[in-house]
Point group: D2
Chain length 332, copies 4
């Protein structure tokens, strides 16, 4: 439910307006140097308030390590990390007590649990991803020791692709009290061949699940993705030569197992659901209503999703790297 | 690894040219009428040899139930099912002993395990999906008792969308010794609101993982998928009225939890990797080589993937339905 | 590793002398009233410093709930709880930097991880059980709504069984700078028939694993335990009448599934490993050495293990109760 | 439910009088020589009909490997194995349709599932352990390559301990239409230090769960077990010298992690529940009744439990050995 991974296992907790959000990381290799400075920079990239393109909310989001590190090194025991919540404007959310915001999880949480923490989305808030990003930072540090690096970039916003165009689209949406969607690409370099398990543990399946599990993501592609549907096999197969693969339409994964090429993932991100324009909805009693979502929201969530998607890819990869260690041992 | 699901758990086994392929289903609700006739029809839909558009291989694929059913009813104990392998032309595969087929898992399995059953792809063969489809048939029978139905259809092949055009594209590729890709849509109707778990157990994340875990699938969309990247929030949010949602761009899932609308999934399927045209590759010693894949292959795998994708969606849904039973109990 | 349970899942974290110890509880039913006052009393029972029979260390161990509760009720999201560490006498532990204490995990942790937090046992300290007890208190509150109650008692210490004898044994050991072992019984009343899963998910197997996973426990019995080895079947079988079972040698579990009778568990607890008497050991370089363990240790850990064992039994039972909800749904 | 293990994962299936019993082993290291002759000898040891001390039923129990082995070597893919059922005397079991046998799972299965395969105990029959033993044989073959060996022996029957006395007790019980319990010891030699995970993944916890999950086992001890309850710490702690531990009261496990000493486990086995003497019971309608269990039953199950207990210990150990491979990789 709130746990991700098998070998490197993270459990996140916390609501948007509760006391704290955080994560427990279980299975981190022992003996790795680690302190808060390894984690804070990635968190800062997902933080709001950093430019005119994202939410102006001011959240310091200072991470604290509570366990699992001794004399500056990981010990193999669980690493608990926490960020205290602050900077909330609870009056922004009073309306949410009775109204379901279109595009949000308000309605479905109420249906599922019969109760929900309505303040700022509660558990379904993007603040939950702080735990993922903090855990992802640890994963990335370990992966770097194996030569593996993960990075992401915005590909398009509202169909536009240049940096200037993207900025203009976001600001236009912001000024209109609206929001825009976009796409992003996440790439892992340096992965050895052999990561991933056949059948139900395929690396691409794990990546797809990890990406689609990020709020606002509605589509995932590996390699050339939907473009392959319009191709001949003779175009799409990646030929092999003694110097390696001659193309990478597959995105670095064959039969669910990494090929040694770059792993390439593309995601579709929907426009932020919270918009200032009036929308039709119902209240918790089922009556028709209108809602104008207040608060300081992101006109486009793509920039802030990048570090989350990087973290999720890193978490999938570290799990596979540790899993594969068993095979190396087996084959010895 | 070879197990899928938490509450309704399936474990598949078997290689393309081994003694048998099969599946063990654990967690099936007790007391449900079940015999082989509930399973065979879905298996027959994925079988080759049924039309000029698919592989002409003749495989009867008769399923047998070995356990878990007593006097015509499920008992709650594991349901093991098996299909004996037959109809193999092993001489078709002799070349695969030393050559890696482009687009296949031959290279990556060898990298991962240092050994592989090269006959017809071994474990990475599409025959592995027999176990998934057999298990999916049981899941569908149970879901039907809850009013939930799953069905799939071909949307496009090689960019064309009409039935006649699709057939023409497939036959043209077949005649050219080539293959073509396509897209398919899988829909579940009748799902109650509340299925799926927040954060890492999201219903759309589980579906994305399940779909991307089918061989040849390279992209997954929920609802409008990649189209949302070009929209404004005011266009994309599904408004709610006292009579229900007024649109379904979200594809029936909000915040990872089903909304009660139809669940809509689209997948991109790559062109079959096995083609009769010569391709560049290497042998197991790393030397340059050329390969022309022999055997009776599908020029387009989309038609035969439909029942597999239906099965996977049914498996995700039954898992969520049984999981949600715990909440119903909790809320009582 | 540090996670226990399937449906009601707890993940503990923290070292004896780190910043904090705590637990994340995932899968708690929503809508249950909960605050710190539901948890603190059970924690207070495991706390040291409460009588002359246990360690005189003063630890307030005040629990704080960080998430998962809104307006006094559980929401179905993870409940994170934390106790800040205090009251440490780190100079008591300086010697542990280089010496392995006999009977403790010092040697094996070093072997496993190549690094260890030696302060007070670090992760292997009994303080880790704070998280278990806090989670167990939530489980007990839920189980009470189903009519299920868990309670434990000391059966014997150093072979003696009366309250006065037990106290005398403990004080004598304390005065001698030594420690003593004992046995305890944990009973669950009110369990419905049908809890537990056959084969590998048996209720007695889960209980045995849960109990043996408590530090210092070296033996577990269900029902009459080792006494059954000396019996005839005609003596040991529990006859059934229309008014129910006529005896309970089985301890409330048949074939791994609860019978509706009281569930009875007995555990053997070894004498506390930390003793003031000199013992032979080695240092981290493998040289012979002698150690006299300093600090304020329990001469007998049985009294303080009782609430931990109660918590573990409650955790096993709530997991089974929630699991069984799926069957109730299935059978509907 | 019917799956055991994390890294080396087995799923058993089959009922006593169904078509077959079997197991799927997932996660077996690739490249290991394997055929049916590696498995059959251990199965033969658990087979009935081999002496006057066990059930005279004749079951050939010939194992067949269906997948996962290619050209005589494991490939890393699932190994499915099956034994066809034969030799049943179904008329022996007709009475079981309506009566619950005391000491058996008949009553609790009916309570749990509302349906049961009553023929010979169905899924709760000892025949289910064929799958465990077959999987255990593979585990033992792998463990042998690491220098680890597992073996078991009868310690006592009905309180007697010499071979002649034990035989006499069993025959006396058999002649009286009764049954007797006993104890057995299982030992693993050659285990490296460092196996097992702290807190909830402790090696002794896993062993206790594995042993208590064998039908008829009612008690489990690690090392000196219940005897430690009567000791002083100064007696019970195992001192360490530069030449290693000076005693092994702990049974080879400290803090849940193997110490490198022999791992010693003792189990209590109840007298076989099936006896020829009349017993009080109820029928499925709740009416008082008397039952005399017919069929060819074991007067003492201890001899036939030994290979099952060995298999379970081997399964726990291989799981820990493969898990530890991740740490070796981490520490590199």
């Amino acid at each position: 439910m709130n746990t991700f991974g098998t070998n490197f296992r993270i459990t996140t907790f916390g609501e948007s307006h509760g006391a704290a959000v955080g994560v427990v990381v279980d299975g981190c290799p022992p003996g790795m140097a680690l302190d808060e400075n390894d984690i804070q920079p990635l968190l800062d990239r997902r933080r709001p308030g950093t430019s005119s393109l994202v939410s102006p909310r001011q959240e310091r989001d200072r991470i604290g390590i509570l366990s699992g590190v001794f004399e500056g090194k990981t010990t193999g025991t669980p690493i608990a990390m926490m960020v205290k919540n602050e900077g909330a404007h609870p009056h922004d959310y009073e309306e949410l007590r009775t109204l379901f915001r279109p595009g949000h999880a308000d309605f479905t949480y109420q249906q599922k649990y019969g109760i929900r923490d309505y303040r700022g989305g509660g558990r379904s808030s993007g603040r939950e991803t702080i735990g993922r990003v903090a855990a992802g930072a640890i994963a990335m540090k370990y992966l770097a020791t194996k030569g593996i690096a993960v990075s992401g970039r915005i590909v398009s916003v509202h169909g536009r692709t240049g940096a200037g165009e993207i900025e203009a689209e976001i600001l236009a949406a912001k000024n209109a009290g609206d929001s825009v969607g976009g796409t992003a690409e996440i790439v892992a370099t340096g992965c050895p061949a052999g990561l991933g398990d056949p059948v139900f543990g395929k690396l691409d399946a794990a990546i797809a699940g990890a990406m689609m599990g990020i709020g606002a993501v509605k589509g995932v592609e590996i390699g050339d993705g939907f473009a392959v549907a319009g191709r001949f096999g003779s175009e799409n197969n990646d030929p092999i030569s003694k110097d390696g693969f001659l193309s990478n339409h597959a995105g670095g994964i064959l039969g669910g197992i990494s090929s040694g090429q770059d792993i390439i993932v593309c995601i579709a991100v929907k426009p932020t659901s919270s918009i200032a324009k009036p929308q039709r909805t119902v209240d918790i009693h089922g009556n028709d209503a209108e809602i104008t979502v207040k608060g300081r929201h992101d006109p486009c969530i793509v920039p802030r999703i990048i570090p989350v998607a990087e973290a999720m890819l890193a978490l999938v990869l570290i799990d596979a790297v540790l899993e594969q260690a068993k095979y190396r041992s087996k084959g010895e």
